[in-house]
């Protein structure tokens, strides 16, 4: 048995083990590699940065579910920290029922950390179903979609919501989603109402959103954990995103090596078999 046959027959559990080791080791031996910021992330940061303090609020729609949590939660935390640091008011809502608990834990956690007051600096609207219908509805009147916040307080009794009627009073809406909700915000907030929209999506989706970014339909785009890491660098508060980049680097290298090794062994095996077939003939 030649080397390539042996290599190609290796039990896949060895590969699983290699991945396991590659992800764990950087947690104990951090490489501290620098993260460089790219344009789509800078675009979203600038859009948030340009919102005047204590004025019209940022709308943050936390539309992700637990399945994409490690990619999207660091984005939510970074954006909330950025907004609260700048004294920008934030409306938090969700279009995914599982987003309820996740949005609540994100906004409450950051608000506590940065001493923000509910009702004055932020408001949590909770969940509303139907995706396109509520996104369109917010363009007519926020009160029609959310007559009250998640805890049953009527919007008219929330100081922060005074004079905030619809998209006309929202300088920027950001959606964080691991599913088509991000696209729905472009179709139903950006197109009919001209609302400025930014998006944070999983890396799986990110490449498909470049046409929207290029056509100016998105103010900025965060793609996956790397996008979150860049945002953390911009607000100078490094957290889980940046921390994950070391392991990410190591595993990417490992996977490239696996692809190259696999192909080399495969082609060596194929040419040897061809040679044998020729000799037999």
């Amino acid at each position: 048995m030649s080397w390539y046959d042996k290599l190609l027959q290796v039990d896949r559990r060895w590969i699983f083990l290699a991945i396991g080791v590659a992800v764990v080791v950087p947690f104990f031996v951090p490489l501290g590699l620098p993260v460089i910021v790219t344009e789509p992330v800078q675009g979203l940061y600038d859009a948030v940065e340009s919102i005047p303090p204590n004025d019209k609020p940022l709308l943050l729609s936390i539309d992700y579910a637990p399945a994409t949590l490690p990619e999207l939660e660091p984005m939510a935390l970074a954006i909330l920290r950025h907004a609260f640091r700048n004294d920008v008011n934030v409306i938090v809502m969700t279009l995914h029922p599982a987003g309820y608990g996740l949005a609540e834990r994100a906004v409450r956690g950051v608000a506590e950390e940065m001493e923000q007051v509910e009702g004055e600096d932020y408001v949590f609207m909770g969940f509303t179903p139907g995706v396109s219908a509520p996104i369109l509805g917010l363009g007519v009147a926020i009160r029609n979609v959310f007559p009250e916040d998640a805890y049953g307080t009527p919007l008219d009794e929330i100081p922060m919501m005074e004079g905030i009627r619809n998209y006309d009073d929202i300088p920027l809406a950001i959606t964080l989603a691991g599913w088509s909700a991000a696209e729905a915000w472009i179709y139903f907030a950006r197109e009919p109402y001209g609302q400025q929209v930014g998006a944070g999506v999983t890396a799986v989706m990110a490449t498909d959103y470049y046409p929207y970014l290029d056509a100016g339909q998105l103010q900025g785009l965060l793609g996956g954990m790397r996008g979150a890491a860049e945002y953390e660098v911009l607000i100078e508060r490094e957290a889980k995103g940046v921390k994950g980049m070391d392991s990410q680097s190591v595993i990417h290298l490992l996977i490239i090596v696996l692809i190259v090794l696999g192909n080399v062994a495969y082609f060596a095996q194929r040419s040897a078999r061809r040679k044998m077939a020729l000799e037999d003939a």
Binding site: P52, G139, D168, E191, P192, Y193, G194, D208
Partner: protein, 399 residues
Amino acid sequence: MDRFPRILLIVLTLALPALPLFAQVPPPDIEIAAVDSVAPAPVTGLRAHDYVDNSDAGDKIELTWELSADDAAGASDVVRYEVFRSEIEDAPGDSVGFALAGFERFLDTTAEAGTPYYYTVLVSDGTLLSSPTTTGPVRGVSNFFQPSRTSVLVLALVFFVLVLIFTRLAERGADLFVRRIPGLNAIEEAVGRATEMGRPVLYVPGIGEIDNIMTIASLNILSHVAKITARYETPLIVPTARAVVMSAAEEVVKQAHAEVGQPDTYNPDNIRYLSDAQFAFAGAVNGIMLREKPAANLYLGAFWAESLLLAETGFEAGAIQVAGTAMVSQLPFFVTACDYTLLGEELYAASAYLSKEPKLLGGLKGSDWMKILIIALMALGIVLNRLNASWFVEFFHTQ
């Protein structure tokens, strides 16, 4: 030479009124104290008119005026223009907002359509107000058509007409040409190989529900594959992840056997429901690949993350693999692990080509000619832009 500074001075003076346009807008709550105790001069030429925009329900009224004589000139102490709205003449009414010094425009977005309003503008220097300038009555007009969306309407109508014409033509039995997708040859070759080797064919119709258009397209292709395998008496294994898809697949395969005159060779045990759970399903299909050793694996339909697990095991088992899906994020894995892959729309085209169903053909042909129109419009846009004819691009501008 001494004329130079004078020209510079004149230019600078002329440019001065334009400065506020470039300057940073000061935050409204920081008010500059008046430099004198004289009220600023009022605005002139105040006008109010209905405003048309993308959400115009008659709730927007635009005001324009000429700057106060004291704005950036004269006493140069204007801070802002206060705007008031009233439903009765000669009453100041309520404040609806303000515009900063240097601005000649205000947009009231809180009007009620059809109500007559009087607008009053007062110039403020931070302490004193000018005499009022009033205009009116003006009504917000609710429009019956959104002119900025004409291009959307036109293109949508053209597309719909195309789709409907082709659907009707197909219903009447017109011969609509659709080219043969190379992927179909690949599928037939794979099935042929399995027949030669005397081994079964595995057909996975994805894990989508029955109402997913990819699943429907897949069932059309399954019918074609089942006819070939029935003719050559090659076993066809169809594992499914949805009970409803399983019964639909049973119907399709049974029908195919009947159509080629081999109703007895239909084996219902080969159409199987494995599991609704994604990874459990993938694991069970992989089990079939290792135990029953199909020579051809066909993955056509809606696939999510399980695509990777299926294609890897199939490759390892040495089967010929053909895949097809419109799930873009799964296509890369199929392309690198399968012998041939139908990309995105090719799946639908293959299904329309095989089934000749009018509603499928109508959509396909309509989209095709729409693409030609899009290419033509884009080319025209490039040419006209080059000739500085901006009206064309503006017509398509919707924001």
